[in-house]
């Protein structure tokens, strides 16, 4: 498996650290309900198909990456920097 880091270029899997679903980017706002926090912390989808998750380029540029990939075909559809992401941010994220 290889990921194309937007800064470093195509790199081997061993340079990256897997963190988890992109849900971690959508922290509930202050005063959010318990259900929202429960969802943020514990409830994850387990899709057969496209999924988005966070990877850390620990042996390269030390950037967090948002990777879009397919869990069925293992195809990587896109990699972007979390710091410069253009993907629409869900409402309710603390700012």
């Amino acid at each position: 498996m290889r990921l194309t880091c937007p800064l470093c270029g195509e790199r081997d899997r061993r340079e990256f650290y897997y963190y988890g679903a992109e849900d971690y980017l959508h922290r509930p706002a202050e005063g959010a309900s318990l259900a929202e926090w429960d969802n943020y912390l514990h409830l994850r989808d387990n899709p057969a198909g496209m999924t988005k998750d966070l990877w850390y380029h620990e042996a390269g540029c030390s950037q967090w990456l948002l990777v879009t990939r397919n869990t069925v075909t293992h195809a990587i559809a896109g990699v972007e920097l979390v710091a410069e992401r253009k993907t629409e941010q869900k409402a309710g994220r603390a700012k």
């Binding site: 470093c8 270029g9 061993r14 340079e15 950037q63």
Partner: protein, 181 residues
């Protein structure tokens, strides 16, 4: 204040095997230049006095023996000179934190190819470029200074391990080529 003598991690060691020379390089002071958000302009102004500009990702710029090496997003290492006054960036002294190994000569690429997960062909990694990657499991900053010459920066605490790894690889490559060690 007593005069303190700076010692290098490997005592300036060098080793030549099968036409490839591995040596500890002396590069002078190393400072990290980390640009603040919105500080790009004033950083560029400060670097102008050295005739340098922030390098593009994966590359380094060089003038009069002074290098500015890309090491991350909005970050570069200034190598070989004390930094000028810079308003737009955080400057931290890294000089004692790194050991620089130079690897040069004929089969230098074959030696490095056994240690790093990178495409080392000149088309993918041309002269004047830098890569942050790993030498086995050690994080490293690898500069290509000529077709068959590299400078490898590793954490100083890893200096002897890095030397050991590279030395054994040098021996294996020389042995494979049928050269007497």
């Amino acid at each position: 204040m007593p005069e303190l003598i700076a010692k290098s991690a490997l005592d300036g060691k060098s080793l030549t095997l099968g036409g490839v020379t591995l040596a500890e390089a002396t590069v002078g002071p190393i400072h990290s230049v980390a640009v603040f958000p919105g500080g790009a302009k004033s950083t560029a102004k400060g670097l102008k006095s050295l005739g340098l500009a922030m390098p593009a990702p994966n590359s380094f710029v060089e003038k009069d023996g002074v290098r500015l090496v890309w090491t991350g997003r909005d970050q570069a290492f200034l190598v070989g000179v004390m930094p000028p006054d810079l308003d737009g960036a955080a400057i931290t002294d890294q000089s004692d934190g790194w050991t620089v190994l130079s690897l040069a000569g004929g089969a230098a690429v074959d030696v490095l190819a056994r240690l790093v997960p990178l495409d080392l062909r000149p088309a993918a990694f041309p002269v004047g470029q830098v890569r942050r990657s790993q030498v086995n499991h050690m994080n490293a900053v690898i500069l290509r200074t000529a077709e068959a010459a590299f400078e490898i920066m590793v954490f100083r605490s890893m200096a002897r391990t890095a030397w050991h790894e590279m030395e054994s690889t040098l021996q294996m490559v020389a042995a494979r080529a049928g050269k007497k060690i």
